[in-house]
Every structure is written in structure tokens, then in C-alpha cells.
């Protein structure tokens, strides 16, 4: 991430005259296309969420009645009718979709079928710890990836295979297993961290490591391939002939090239970190969107599921825009093409 901070201004000074005007027009058009495609992504996720929850097996009114009363029985039409009427489950598919989408357009996320609580409140309660966990994990994963890459990539065969083996192993580690292991060793045995840490800073460290280690493995694999390729490029040789030290060559020239695939992966990673941290949340008894989402999907609680999915995809869109900017920062060649 320090790469971003040390980089030069995002857009190089614009050439004078006619070219400037043309570039502005091109930029506006590009921005317009980006905006449209972002809106399309949001519409798409909202729609897919609706369709999937509607066609997944399981009658929503029955689930509602059973979850409320703690039973698992089939329900009679007489029991179901009032629930279907209240929530509009018996309206036509199209009517339900239009109601749902109209609400979303007004920024109304609705209320949970199950608890009756506003979805905005439910998300508001959980978003803080989720953000902290996701971004801290991504940051730590990058720190680990960069350190590991600089240390082992583009070196002798022994170090290289050690580095790549490390990545393959960590990338394949199941989160639940890593979490339990860290919990037992560092919280239960050594007592360095609380077992039930909640959202406290000391309680956040182990969950962050749990998420960051496998992610660092993924990022590392992508970075390494590119790093190994870049270090054989002629510009590396020319930098070395200019008398640049090994570490500086790796850090300033090679790493920059190698970061691009990892940055692309980061956009994807943040999406999964925001909504898919449920196992880690469970192990460390930590609040977060993951557990809320899993429960809501299980109960076909459309309002909650769509609220979270739309929010995460909105963030995903924003983050991918950021990723595009970061590309430019990391790779000056892209500056002209923006």
C-alpha cells in the first residue's frame, strides 16, 4: 500500500491546446460509461438476489411461521393466507419484483421479515466491525505478500520454491481451521488475546490474521508469477547497469509490475471479506454482516439479504473504481490511456 503513497500525482500534467479539450471529452465519456456500467451491476445484483431467493425451494410464509414459533411443520392454507397477504407473497412475480425494486430505488431497504427491524438498522449495527475486519485483513495480507515476494521471488531456485510452496499452502488453508488453531494457541493456551474478543482491538487481531493469511497466499501467487517475469525484463538489467542496488531494483521497478494482478484480486477479495467472513465471526464470537447474511439467506429474508448484497456490490463497484485509479498510480504507462 505504501506504493500508492509514494507514487507521483495520478494524472500527469495535461498537454496544452486542442488535445486537452479532446481528452476532457474522452474522459467524460469514459466516466459516463463507468457510471452506467456501475448502475447496471447494481441493478443486476439486486435482480439476481430477488430471483434467486424467489426460486430457491422453501415456502417463505411457512418459514416465517416456523422460525417465529420454533417449529418445523408444514402449514395449512388457513395459517398461510394471512402471512401471504401481509407480505405480498401471493402477488404475481412481476408485482413483487416491481414493489421490491421501487422500494430500493427510493433508498428504502425495507424491514426484516423475521424480526420486523429496519434493514438499515441491522446493517448499521454490523457494518463497523465488518469494515474494520475486512480492510485490516486486506492490508495485512498485502504487507505479508509484499514482504514474502521481495524476500523469496526472483531468487535462487531453493528460495523460490520455498516461497511458492508457502503461498500454495497458505492459500489452501481453511479459515475455520486457521481460526480455531490461532484461538487455541494464542488465546486459550498462551492467553495473549481474549477468547471472546468481540470488537475490541485486541480481539480483532486474531480474526484479522485468520483472514489475512490465506488471502496473502492468493495475492502472493498472483504477484510472484508477475514478479518472476518482470525481473527478467531488459529494464531490470539496465537499472542494474546504472548501479542501482538489488533491493531498490526489486522495490522500485520489479514490484510495481508485479502488483497489478494482486490489485485486481483485491477488488474481488474485499467483496468476499465484507460478506463472507461468517466462519471467522463464528469462531471468534464477533459481530458482523457474514453471520447476519447467512441467517437471512437460510430464512429467505429477502429484505435483509438484498440490503446486504446491494450494499456490498455498491462497495464493490466503488472499490473497483479505486482499483482502476491505483492501476494508474502503479503503472505510469496507463496514464496516457485514461
Amino acid at each position: 500500500m505504501s506504493v500508492v503513497q509514494t507514487s507521483s500525482p495520478l494524472v500527469s500534467p495535461a498537454p496544452a491546446g486542442d488535445t486537452a479539450g479532446r481528452r476532457a471529452r474522452v474522459l467524460t465519456r469514459l466516466a459516463g460509461i463507468k457510471l452506467l456500467s456501475s448502475l447496471f451491476v447494481l441493478w443486476g445484483t439486486a435482480t439476481v438476489t430477488f430471483v434467486v431467493l424467489a426460486i430457491l425451494p422453501g415456502d417463505r410464509a411457512t418459514i416465517l411461521l416456523n422460525v417465529r414459533s420454533g417449529l418445523t411443520v408444514p402449514r395449512s392454507p388457513a395459517e398461510l393466507a394471512p402471512v401471504n397477504r401481509e407480505f405480498g407473497f401471493d402477488d404475481s412475480f412481476v408485482t413483487q419484483y416491481l414493489t421490491y425494486f421501487g422500494r430500493l430505488l427510493h433508498g428504502d431497504l425495507g424491514q426484516s421479515y423475521q424480526s420486523g427491524r429496519p434493514v438499515a438498522t441491522i446493517i448499521g449495527e454490523q457494518i463497523g466491525p465488518t469494515f474494520v475486519l475486512a480492510f485490516a485483513a486486506l492490508l495485512l495480507a498485502w504487507v505479508l505478500t509484499i514482504a514474502w515476494t521481495l524476500l523469496t521471488a526472483g531468487r535462487g531456485p531453493r528460495l523460490r520454491s520455498l516461497g511458492s510452496a508457502g503461498e500454495t499452502v497458505t492459500a489452501g488453508l481453511p479459515q475455520y481451521w486457521v481460526g480455531i488453531l490461532l484461538l487455541i494457541v494464542f488465546a486459550a493456551q498462551l492467553g495473549w488475546f481474549p477468547v471472546i474478543g468481540g470488537t475490541s482491538p485486541s480481539g480483532t487481531i486474531l480474526p484479522v490474521i485468520t483472514l489475512a493469511v490465506p488471502l496473502a497466499g492468493f495475492l502472493g501467487q498472483a504477484t510472484r508469477t508477475e514478479f518472476d517475469r518482470a525481473i527478467r525484463e531488459p529494464f531490470v538489467l539496465s537499472a542494474r547497469t546504472r548501479g542501482m542496488g538489488d533491493l531498490e531494483v526489486r522495490w522500485r521497478h520489479v514490484l510495481r509490475h508485479a502488483l497489478i494482478p494482486g490489485i485486481t484480486l483485491s477488488g474481488w477479495a474485499i467483496g468476499t471479506l465484507l460478506s463472507g467472513a461468517v466462519l471467522v465471526e463464528t469462531v471468534f464470537a464477533r459481530p458482523g454482516l457474514g453471520a447476519v447474511l447467512v441467517t437471512a439467506v437460510g430464512q429467505k429474508d429477502l429484505a435483509v439479504v438484498s440490503g446486504i448484497v446491494v450494499l456490498v456490490s455498491a462497495l464493490y463497484v466503488v472499490i473497483n473504481l479505486v482499483v482502476d485509479v491505483v492501476y494508474v498510480a502503479v503503472d505510469p504507462r496507463l496514464r496516457g490511456s485514461l
Binding site: L56, D59, P74, A78, P194, T282, V297
Partner: protein, 543 residues
């Protein structure tokens, strides 16, 4: 009271009585040291309790909700080992026809929002139960009427001698009528107002609930260890879904009490901690054979299935002593009028084979499965994976699957997702030959709930055997309105024996609720009525 409690079951009745003895001795010694004035009791601290599941609302029809409601609400009456004792009601009487119960209420109790507790409060709560508890009709409660300020009548649609046990089970807590009428649904869900020992300070969703002591508490039930405010100042109720995490929280001292010990740690828990273990009321984890259609309509097939399995051994192996084997599939062992039928259907492969031969399942196909008229002897068993049957429970079912295979029965285990389970899927008579599950309930009218062909005119969804025998159903309905205890016991004995002999409903293991408690904390006790709710009001630390 629901089948909705993904608790891992564990225990033995012996353990239960041992644990009880422990609590009692702990209490008496604690009381003794206090009166001796050695000042070892530590008060005004925070109790940290790690629970498994977080319900959407603090009260309602789930067992998990009763665990919470019990901390905040008082009830009309309390259950003390087979006896009903006063709580918010000081006395009560039942009318001649059994359909009107008149309660005389305490006149010195105030809800924590300042509203006085009186007959109108009970009337308001009766309406709230009807709305908020999905199975309220099984108590036969209809309406309520205030006779005077501190006398209230509850009306029933039919005689129900068990109504007191049901009212004392934790779901029937009394809330402030002012709060119920003036506050939002959400407020009443997350911060309801009662007259109980604890007040909700804050519910941090996904994390836990902070309770603070009700300093004016003066309405403990007659079977509590003391009447008055809790000894400790705060109760920190954490939601910790993972059993290993809960266990680590206990061993590191971060939690003083944990719910549902992992069965691999059960032996250690018994050695190093105080354990409470309660076999829930109602019906244990039991097999219900489809007696309406398919091969299991033949009694010999049902019995062969049971003889082919060493159920007792399986439970011992899987649950490591934390959960008892249970042979009765109709009533739980903690239920009054329970009949022990554990010796029925011992492991006897030869007999199983003989019964299947007699039933005409004589030809085995190439997979070793018996067939009749070319059809294999397949028994489909859909089960609520996670929600109803824990991972240990599902391991036990796999062992059953293995054993019945050896006599030529093809047991198909069909794990259902949570969505499918709550959608009531795979519950039609042509979709399964066997069901498996429990039903937590405080009274033997669980037989009516589980074996009546119809409920309110519609097919009874709780009847997983699809049993339909008007004569037996008549006996069930007669038993539950019988007021003579001896006749009542005899009637229930006959019914339990019938369902066991006919192999319609046969037990596998007890549905248990357990807790492990740090040696530093004394006086925590488990309600002995149907779901083992924990009481923290009497708890105190020792140095």
C-alpha cells in the same frame, strides 16, 4: 417450546442428580459460610455467561428465547421438582369444570418502568402470548378476565391439569402492560420491561446482551435460594456460537458459565467444573415410523429396524456420557408420568432377520438389500441437519445406517438445510418412511400434539408418524384431562407402552441442556421445568 434449539445434547440422569446434589451442597455450604461471617462471598461483580444462539427477539416461542426471558420476566407460578409453587401469584384454584383458573396476585410488585403489577397486567400479557407464541393453543388458554385489582381468571378451552407447569416454563413471563402498549415492537423485542431480577441495558446484536441488576427486585419464586436483588451487579450474556470457543472461554476464565459443553470435553468438564445437565421435557430425540404408507406400516419391519441397531452402544460412543440413551419415544424422562421402556428392542440381529423374513422381505439384491416384489427395502429419513440434529446426532444416525444395512435395510439419510427444515419440506407421508426429532414441552399432552390425526380441523403437522387411530386418540385425550393422579399415571403408562410395543415411536437419546460453571461461582441453578433455564439471581463468587 419448539424444536428449535441447535444445542448439542448431552448427559445422563445420574449426572443430573449428581449435579443437583453438587448445587445443593454448594448452596448449603455457601449459605453456611456466609452466616458464619467468614466474608468469603464476593458480590457486586459481573457474571459472564457464554450462550450459543442469538434469537431475534428476547421472548417468544423458542427455548433459546425462554433462556433470556427468564432473566427479565417473572411468571405467575414456578415449578419445583414436581410441585407448583407461588411466584407472582400467591394462590390459585381451578373451577369445577377445569376451564377457569383463578389466581390471587401479589400486590407489592412493580415493573422496572414503574407500572404496578396487577390483574390488568395479566390480561394484557395473555393477549400478548396468544399473539407472540406460535404454539400457545396447545395450552388451551383462551382469554383472561380481571376479577378485581389482584385477582385474575384465565380461561381454557378444555380442562388442562398441566396448565400450571406450562405457565411456569419461561415462555409465559409477564411484561409491563405499559411497555407492551406504548412502545414499538422492536423496543419490546430488544429491551422488554419486566419485573424480574435483571434489566436489559443494551443488546449488541451479534455480540451479546448487557443486563444490569434490578435493585428493587423483591419477587423471586418460592423455590429460589433468596428473595431480593441479585448478588451480582451485572450479567454479561455473550453469544458464542462455536462450542470450542465457549469451552476455551471457560478454561481461560473469561466466561464464568458456558452453555452446551462440547461432548469431547464432557469428562473434563465433570472433573474440573460444576456441571448442570437437564433432560428436557416433552419428547426425546426419537424415531417416528410412517404408519400410514410404505414398508414401515408393517410392525415387523419397524421392530426389525430396532432390533438391528445397538442404539445404547451408539449413544455411549458418540456422546461420551454427556447424553443419555433413551428408549421411550413418546415422553421424555424428566416428564412426570414417564415410563422406562429402555429394555425394549435390545440389539438382536438374528431376531431382526427373522422378522424381516416373516414380513416377506426375503430376496436380497446385489447390494445386499432385501427386496419384496422386486422393490428394495428402502427407508428414507429426512432430518433437520444442524437445527434439529447436531453433528454428534448425525454421526449417531450414520451408525444406525451402518447397522441396519447388515440386515438388508437401506436407510437413506437425507440431511435438510435450515431453509428446507423451516419450510417444512419432506414432511408428506409419501416422502419419508422415518422421521427423527424432538419436541420440548412441559406436559404429557405432547402425546396429543404428536399423535392426533388432526389439529384444529387441519392435518396435524406435528404428527410425523401419520398415526390415525381414533380409539387411541380418544385415550390420549382422556388421559390429559384426567385429574386423579393415579388414574392419570396408569393411562399414560398404557399409552407409552402401546407406542413402544407397536414400535411406532421409539427413543434414541435424551434432549439435554447443559452448562459448565467455574468453581469461583456458586449458586447458579437450572429450572427443572421442561427446558433447564438458568438462574443467575442467586449466584455469588467465592474467593
Amino acid at each position: 417450546m419448539t424444536t428449535h434449539a441447535p444445542s448439542r445434547s448431552r448427559t445422563l440422569l445420574i449426572v443430573l442428580s449428581a449435579a443437583l446434589a453438587l448445587v445443593l451442597s454448594a448452596c448449603s455450604s455457601g449459605g453456611g459460610s456466609s452466616s458464619a461471617g467468614d466474608g468469603k462471598r464476593i458480590v457486586d461483580q459481573t457474571i459472564t455467561y457464554a450462550h450459543a444462539q442469538e434469537p431475534p427477539c428476547l421472548w417468544g416461542g423458542w427455548v433459546q428465547q425462554a433462556y433470556l426471558s427468564r432473566q427479565v420476566f417473572d411468571s405467575l407460578v414456578s415449578y419445583d421438582d414436581g410441585k407448583i409453587v407461588p411466584w407472582l401469584a400467591t394462590s390459585w384454584k381451578t373451577s369445577e369444570d377445569g376451564r377457569t383458573i383463578t389466581f390471587t396476585l401479589r400486590d407489592d410488585v412493580t415493573f422496572t418502568d414503574g407500572t404496578p403489577f396487577n390483574a390488568d397486567a395479566v390480561v394484557a400479557n395473555n393477549a400478548n402470548w396468544a399473539k407472540g407464541i406460535g404454539w400457545n393453543s396447545f395450552t388451551y388458554l383462551t382469554d383472561a378476565k380481571a376479577v378485581d385489582d389482584h385477582t385474575v381468571e384465565l380461561h381454557l378451552s378444555q380442562r388442562n391439569p398441566e396448565i400450571f407447569q406450562e405457565l411456569s416454563n419461561g415462555h409465559y413471563g409477564i411484561q409491563s402492560p405499559t411497555a407492551l402498549t406504548t412502545r414499538s415492537v422492536e423496543d419490546n423485542c430488544h429491551k422488554p420491561v419486566g419485573s424480574g431480577p435483571w434489566i436489559v441495558k443494551q443488546w449488541k446484536v451479534g455480540d451479546g446482551i448487557d443486563f444490569v441488576r434490578n435493585d428493587d427486585y423483591n419477587s423471586a419464586p418460592a423455590n429460589a435460594k433468596h428473595n431480593g436483588p441479585a448478588y451480582q451487579k451485572e450479567l454479561d450474556w455473550k453469544f458464542v456460537p462455536d462450542a470450542n470457543t465457549r469451552w476455551s472461554a471457560l478454561t481461560t476464565g473469561q466466561a464464568d458459565v458456558i452453555y452446551d459443553v462440547p461432548s469431547v470435553q464432557w469428562a473434563t468438564a465433570q472433573k474440573n467444573y460444576e456441571v448442570l445437565n437437564f433432560v428436557s421435557g416433552g419428547r426425546p430425540q426419537a424415531f417416528s415410523f410412517n404408519v400410514q404408507q410404505g414398508p414401515t406400516t408393517d410392525k415387523r419391519v419397524r421392530q426389525a429396524f430396532l432390533y438391528a441397531t445397538d442404539r445404547k452402544k451408539i449413544i455411549e460412543t458418540v456422546f461420551k456420557g454427556s447424553v443419555p440413551f433413551e428408549g421411550n419415544g413418546t415422553l421424555a424422562s424428566s416428564q412426570p408420568d414417564y415410563l422406562n421402556v429402555d429394555s425394549a428392542y435390545p440389539y438382536d440381529v438374528e431376531k431382526a432377520n427373522q422378522l424381516l423374513d416373516e414380513a416377506g422381505w426375503t430376496v436380497k439384491n446385489k447390494d445386499g438389500i432385501r427386496t419384496k416384489d422386486g422393490k428394495p427395502l428402502t427407508i428414507r429419513l429426512p432430518f433437520g441437519n444442524g437445527a434439529i440434529v447436531t453433528s454428534d446426532g448425525s454421526a449417531a444416525l450414520q451408525a444406525v445406517q451402518d447397522q441396519v444395512k447388515s440386515v438388508g435395510i437401506d436407510l437413506k439419510l437425507i440431511p435438510l438445510t435450515q431453509t428446507q427444515t423451516f419450510a417444512g419440506e419432506k414432511s408428506a407421508p409419501d416422502e419419508k418412511e422415518l422421521s427423527f426429532g424432538y419436541w420440548v414441552w412441559g406436559a404429557p399432552n405432547i402425546l396429543d400434539i404428536n399423535f392426533a390425526a388432526k389439529q384444529g380441523g387441519a392435518p396435524n403437522g406435528n404428527n410425523t408418524t401419520f398415526f390415525d387411530d381414533p380409539e387411541v386418540e380418544q385415550k390420549i385425550k382422556a388421559a390429559q384431562v384426567e385429574t386423579d393422579p393415579a388414574k392419570r399415571t396408569a393411562a399414560y403408562d398404557e399409552l407409552q407402552q402401546y407406542f413402544s410395543d407397536e414400535a411406532i415411536a421409539v427413543g434414541f437419546y435424551g434432549m439435554t441442556y447443559n452448562a459448565a460453571i467455574s468453581p469461583k461461582l456458586k449458586g447458579v441453578w437450572q429450572d427443572q421445568n421442561s427446558n433447564g433455564l438458568l438462574n443467575f439471581n442467586d449466584a455469588y463468587f467465592v474467593s
